[in-house]
């Protein structure tokens, strides 16, 4: 089991606030790694650092890319993290392209491949065979994922008009169309009903076991995290407080304390609600 | 819906533009809306009165005249559109446009459609392009600039003179000519400045003039800005004499500038109101509560010009009318008009005026 991503001494400060404090963490290839922690623990900030939206104050993020070798994620702008390093994320507050159809959302995710095939749009403008073929392939790929996530019947609907749970699935499907090496899911089960959660579990296991995609999962729904994760990392106040197999983490006294013992940090709570609202 | 819309639009446009007219149509065009609407207003009042008078005399060649009014808002694009409307309305004569930048593109349309025009636009380019249908009943910027520049060089010897313009085609052209004429007479402008028309605050310019010790400002532009500059100069304790062009005939200048307007001089054709032959018409305008200032009498004269040319040619066909206009001499309220080959007035004669107590009169 090789290490896909290794986070070393990651620190992220916003003015006086330290959101992530000297965090180190290994993400193995082809496995599901769960990240849990109380609200405002710095989980989403970790994702933002990983995917280039924030520049970490200190620390290194090394990705052992199967094709391109070692890449330093903290040095890449966000679009290159997705394009070159193939580290793709979803968002806690779903970010689809609401007026575009589901299919279009999935095609846009394959922008870089198609754009290359369209050769500065010229091949595309004249509908040259090379481009047509690339487009067909892109649609086929999208159709496959739609089928797998039971979204085919929504393909031509505007994404923004669909129910919440469906939108969550679309966002995952869209991320999959980027062909990720590492898929970072930010609370994919939030707002799902139990049946949908169960389906999600199944999907995550399929992606990991059958497709070999490594998954980094932020989740509050313990039925999801505990059931699918191979390895769980618990963070609080931006620090790692426990790590290990699901069962071990469940019984760790630090974790129990973090979840149950302290409820005086209202400031942190507030920050969280704000994040939700935006 | 779109098609019906388009179709009705076309039909309506077509129908509207092909209205058969029993009367003979003549037209005026100028800025009836927008920033310079007051000039357009003057033109309309003058032309309306003239048409009423001509029709009272029995019209032209036995037909009553009908006046078409076109609004170009001093926008070249709209000017072309107005010109096309007028062509469709089968006008036989056009007085306009007012802004040189509207007259130039619109005149090409009239030229192609064989419509003679009389304009008050002063930019030399208006007649320099060799179009046969243009007749200018006003002097040119270069002529009036020369008169103003020489006057300044003669009368204000030893004083510091600034030349300022408002960056409009008219204003800049005029100011350049004034500066040229002054320099030719051996007087270099102490300052050459430009302002943005439409602003309200010219205290920066005034301070600059004060610093440079300027006493006389030669100005190319419109009256609104002159009034503001004068007011602000007075507030800053600067005694300023202004010399400008024909646009300063507007009595708004006096209302706006207050007593300081007495320091304003400008060049203009000999005052048509002083023309004894114009006296009855002037009286008539005053009776109708219209002060025949600025372009009012010019519009009146343009219509007289058409009346006389048509009567002498006994036709309103372009060829005949054009020949009559070029060859003839016409007695109008602005004096005798006759044109050279380019269509400029043969003897435009500019005179320097000075505002005094709300009236303008020849300057000493």
């Amino acid at each position: 089991m090789s290490t896909l991503l290794s986070v070393r001494n990651l620190t992220m400060r916003f003015g006086g606030l330290t959101a992530i404090d000297d965090l180190s963490l290994e993400v193995p290839a082809g496995r599901i790694t769960g990240i849990i922690g109380p609200n405002g623990a710095g989980k989403t900030t970790l994702f933002n650092c990983l995917t280039g939206f924030y520049k970490p104050t200190v620390g290194t993020l090394r990705l052992a890319h199967p094709q391109h070798g070692e890449m330093r994620l903290e040095k890449l702008p966000s679009h290159r993290v997705a394009r070159d390093a193939q580290v793709v994320r979803t968002f806690q507050n779903i970010r689809l392209f609401p007026k575009m159809t589901v299919l279009e959302n999935l095609i846009v995710a394959q922008h870089n491949v198609l754009q290359r095939a369209s050769r500065f749009s010229i091949a595309g403008l004249f509908s040259l065979p090379g481009y047509r073929q690339a487009e067909r392939a892109a649609v086929a790929r999208a159709a496959t994922w739609l089928e797998r996530l039971q979204l085919t019947r929504f393909a031509d609907h505007a994404a923004g008009d669909l129910p919440y749970g469906t939108q969550r699935r679309i966002e995952i499907a869209r991320a999959l169309c980027v062909d990720p090496v590492l898929l970072c899911l930010d609370e994919p089960a939030a707002g799902l009903n139990p049946r949908e959660s169960a389906e999600l579990n199944e999907l995550l296991l399929y992606l990991c076991r059958e497709q070999g995609v490594a998954i980094l999962l932020i989740e509050h729904d313990m039925s999801v995290v505990m059931n699918v994760s191979d390895h769980i990392c618990v963070i609080n106040y931006g620090r790692k407080i426990a790590e290990g197999a699901p069962d071990a983490v469940k019984n760790d006294p630090h974790v129990i304390k973090a979840y149950l013992g302290e409820d005086e940090e209202e400031g942190v709570m507030e920050e969280y609600t704000e994040e939700r609202a935006s | 819906m779109k098609k019906t819309l388009l179709a009705t639009a076309c039909l309506a446009l077509g129908a509207y533009s092909q209205t058969s007219l029993a009367d003979m149509s003549v037209a005026i065009a100028g800025p009836m809306t927008g920033q310079y609407a007051s000039a357009g207003d003057q033109i309309r009042r003058g032309a309306e009165m003239a048409i009423a008078d001509i029709n009272a005399r029995g019209g032209v060649l036995g037909e009553k005249l009908k006046l078409e009014v076109g609004d170009d808002a001093c926008d070249p694009k709209q000017a072309v559109s107005v010109a096309n409307t007028m062509v469709n309305r089968k006008i036989v004569f056009m007085h306009g446009h007012w802004c040189s930048s509207s007259t130039i593109p619109a005149s090409e349309v009239y030229n192609e459609s064989d419509i003679p025009m009389a304009t008050v636009s002063t930019n030399p380019q208006v007649t320099e392009r060799g179009l046969a249908n243009i007749f200018r009943i006003m002097g040119r910027d270069d002529q009036q600039g020369m008169v103003a520049g020489e006057y300044i060089a003669d009368k204000f010897k030893g004083k510091k003179v600034a030349v300022v313009d408002d960056k409009s085609a008219y204003g800049k052209g005029l100011a350049d000519e004034i500066a040229k004429a002054m320099t030719a007479k051996g007087m270099k402008p102490a300052l050459r400045e430009a302002i943005t028309a439409g602003e309200k605050d010219y205290s920066g310019l005034v301070t600059k003039l004060k610093q440079a010790g300027v006493e006389v400002m030669a100005y190319g532009g419109y009256h609104t800005e002159v009034a503001l500059i004068l007011r602000q100069a007075q507030q800053a304790g600067l005694q300023l004499t202004v010399m400008g062009g024909d646009t300063l005939t507007n009595s708004e200048l006096v209302t706006a500038a207050g007593p300081a307007a007495d320091n304003v001089m400008f060049t203009f054709s000999p005052d048509p109101r002083k023309n004894p032959e114009a006296a009855p018409v002037v009286e008539k305008f005053r009776a109708a509560k219209v002060e025949p200032e600025g372009y009012v009498l010019y519009a009146y004269a343009a219509m007289q010009l058409f009346e006389q040319a048509a009567n002498s040619a006994k036709s309103v066909k372009y060829k005949d009318l054009e020949k009559a206009l070029r060859g003839g001499s016409f007695k109008t309220v602005i004096g005798d008009l006759n044109f050279d080959a380019k269509g400029d007035q043969k003897a435009p004669g500019f005179v320097v005026y000075r505002w005094k107590g709300g009236q303008y009169d020849y300057a000493q």
Partner: protein
């Protein structure tokens, strides 16, 4: 030196005027996040109201300047606020909740409408009144150049500063200010908490219009000449000022206004007057490149 000082005074006066209009822009922007392109024309309407009021007073032989000013201000604020209210009610409220651009276009239409309505009802001619406040103080009698500040210039600068302080106080300290800020941040939440959002927005528009009215009266007093076209340039400049200072921030609007006034004055004084608008917009671009939210605007954190 004396010259520079005089230009400084000119720039400050002009800047204060821009700032006054910009505060109205910024308040409206703050609450509904739209560029109210008709704001400049509201200002123009108020200048016309002021002209009529001053003329009426002159006809009634009122000579006391403070009395006249107070009367004109009250009249102008009353009627102009009514215009502000009506504009919001007819052109913007029906568009609440639609795309960001719909109210913008509606505002541009409103601006064209107001301009032409005034031209039609009041005429295209410029409207002048005799100087209301004359004279000033000589600050420095340098050789060859006397620096002076007119009473009306002083009046403008003082009024603007006082109003900015008053409005900042109102927004930060009063219940209305709290409601206003609540609407600004989350309209749905505010209405759930019992804030009457419609009324708050209407009131904000009326306040913005009242500020424009004060600016309109000041313009009439200072320049003495008004026409139906003055709203356009003033509106654009004030908008620029509001953005430069950081749109949504009242002190920012003031600062932006003053900066633009000073840039214009000094650029025209020492460099090429004809390129002063290029300078203004150039500096705006530079500032925004370095600080994308303006000088005093809260930096927008990219929420992911």
């Amino acid at each position: 030196m004396a010259y520079a000082l005089q230009q400084l005074i000119n720039g400050l006066t002009l800047g204060a005027m821009y700032g006054l209009i910009a505060i109205g822009y910024t308040m409206v922007y703050g609450i509904i996040g739209m560029i109210n392109f008709a704001h400049g024309d509201i200002f123009m309407v108020s200048a016309f109201i002021a002209i009529t009021a001053f003329t009426l007073l002159a006809a009634a032989d009122v000579t006391s300047i403070p009395l006249a000013l107070t009367f004109v201000l009250i009249v102008a604020i009353f009627f102009t606020s009514a215009y502000g209210w009506a504009v919001e009610r007819t052109a913007y409220r029906p568009l609440r909740g639609s795309t960001r651009l719909a109210p913008l276009i509606s505002a541009i239409g409103m601006s064209i409408f107001l301009q032409n309505a005034v031209q039609l009802t009041q005429g295209a001619r410029v409207k002048p009144i005799p100087p209301v406040i004359e004279g000033g103080v000589v600050l420095w009698d340098a050789p060859g150049f006397t620096v002076q500040i007119g009473w009306s210039q002083l009046l403008i600068i003082v009024t603007t500063v006082v109003l900015m302080i008053a409005f900042t106080w109102m927004i930060t300290q009063t219940p209305f200010g709290r409601q206003q800020r609540a609407c600004e941040q989350d309209r749905t939440m505010a209405s759930l908490l019992g804030v009457n959002v419609d009324r708050t927005i209407s009131f904000t528009f009326m306040l913005g219009a009242a500020l424009a009215a004060v600016a309109g009266v000041m313009v009439t007093v200072y320049y003495g000449v008004v026409d139906f076209f003055i709203g356009f340039l003033a509106g654009i400049k004030a908008f620029t000022a509001a953005v430069l200072g950081g749109i949504g921030s009242l002190p920012g609007a003031m600062l932006g206004g003053l900066l633009i006034g000073l840039i214009e004055a000094f650029w025209a004084a020492y460099l090429w007057a004809e390129y002063k608008d290029v300078a203004t917009f150039g500096i705006l671009c530079l500032v925004l490149m370095l600080r994308p939210s303006g000088l005093l605007g809260r930096p927008e954190v990219e929420k992911v």
